[in-house]
């Protein structure tokens, strides 16, 4: 079952789609999220978030002042600014 990923900034939704893996860096260190991950809320450090799509291609976004929340294969990344 794929992950449902959303990246949103206050001004718009930046990305929305399915992915097989999401990796990001929290205050504690790098974090990889695969389907079936436990519910999690994390503070991200400024930097890149990469999303691996179902076909294996990776997309990277730069997120500032962000959070990551995971709940039942639903990953939302909130950034003050993201691109």
């Amino acid at each position: 079952m794929p992950l449902n990923v959303e990246i949103v900034s206050p001004e718009k939704r930046i990305f929305s789609g399915e992915a097989s893996m999401v990796s990001a860096r929290t205050l504690d260190g790098d974090l990889g999220i695969l389907p079936g991950h436990t519910s999690l809320l994390g503070v991200l450090v400024d930097g890149e978030v990469s999303i691996k799509a179902l076909d294996g291609t990776a997309t990277t976004f730069t997120v500032h002042g962000g959070f990551l929340s995971v709940n039942k294969d639903r990953v939302s990344i909130l950034g003050e600014s993201a691109e």
Partner: protein
């Protein structure tokens, strides 16, 4: 051309010029309402996600945070009033300022002083003219606010809130926000809401699958809350500013529409008056000619 007729014509020309301006402003505002509404909608996903996250932390950890703690004895409150930079919007600014005044007197009855934080030139001028103290002011973006503006405002308000109100003159125990809520194209209502201390409402619509699962926090619940809550305040201020902007455009459109309608009425009645004046002039000229001819005829008849 008679003097009366010339005056009517001149007034008609000036009313027509005004009507062109108000009509243009009406059309501009109408197109901007749509844009402003789109921006309100575009900010919704972020607000929803943020609210979900905040209520998750609030429900699964008993962490205390300065932003959620009520003061036992509040003595000062910040009141953020969001008004417009420009006029020509009917009662938009004055009704939001009036709502703010009501809130201030309500707070005073509870024994709380109010520090005014103002957005928009209209509110700033109103306070300045009455020599009232202003704790913070921002202007120049009321019709098109960005998140950066909201963040700047939120930062200074959060700082005032965190400062101790008992010892610091700028510190406040509560934060209230007064803005105009955009209900629909025809209804906008000035609103006063308390923003801080936050009352975290556990998500109004519970997820269909029942209770939320236990969350893990990275690095800890306290630090997640630390980072989340200021964002939450920012997002709510941003949302209020966007709604206020949409309301401003709607109010301006309505004001300009009635101005255009009035100009139409005025032109119509002036045309009637000008026609009557022209007819009176013609009648007078004819009677003068007839009178003159009569006088000539009777003079000639007398000499013969």
């Amino acid at each position: 051309m008679g003097a009366q007729l010339r005056i009517y014509r001149r007034r008609m020309r000036s009313v027509k010029a005004t009507k062109k301006i108000t009509k243009a402003m009406e059309l501009i505002s109408a197109s901007r309402i749509v844009k402003a509404q789109t921006r309100v909608q575009a900010s919704t996903p972020y607000a929803t996600e943020l609210t979900r996250a905040v209520s998750a932390v609030a429900s699964f950890s008993s962490t205390k945070h300065p932003l959620t703690t009520e003061s036992d004895k509040p003595i000062r409150a910040a009141v953020l009033i969001i008004s417009a930079d420009r006029g020509m919007a009917g009662a938009y600014s004055s009704s939001v300022i009036k709502e703010g005044d009501q809130l201030v007197s309500l707070l005073r009855n509870r024994g709380i002083d109010a520090n005014a934080y103002l957005v928009g030139r209209k509110a700033i001028n109103y306070y300045r003219f009455r020599n009232r103290a202003i704790s913070g002011q921002w202007s120049g973006f009321s019709d098109n606010p960005t998140y950066e503006h909201a963040k700047e405002i939120a930062d200074s308000l959060i700082n005032a809130f965190i400062a101790d109100a008992q010892t610091d003159k700028n510190g406040v125990d509560e934060l209230h926000i007064v803005y105009t809520e955009f209900r629909s194209m025809v209804t906008q209502e000035p609103m006063a809401k308390r923003m801080l201390p936050l009352e975290v409402v556990e998500s109004s619509a519970p997820p269909p699958s029942g209770a939320l699962p236990l969350y893990e926090f990275e690095p800890s619940a306290a630090s997640v809350l630390d980072a989340l809550l200021p964002r939450y305040v920012e997002a709510r201020i941003y949302n209020a500013m966007l709604q206020a902007a949409a309301s401003e455009h709607a109010a301006r459109r309505r004001a300009m529409k009635s101005a255009t309608d009035n100009a139409d009425e005025l032109i119509k009645s002036l045309t009637r008056l000008a026609n009557a004046a022209r007819q009176a002039e013609i009648t007078q000229e004819i009677s003068e000619i007839v009178g003159g001819a009569d006088a000539l005829a009777s003079a000639n008849a007398g000499s013969e």
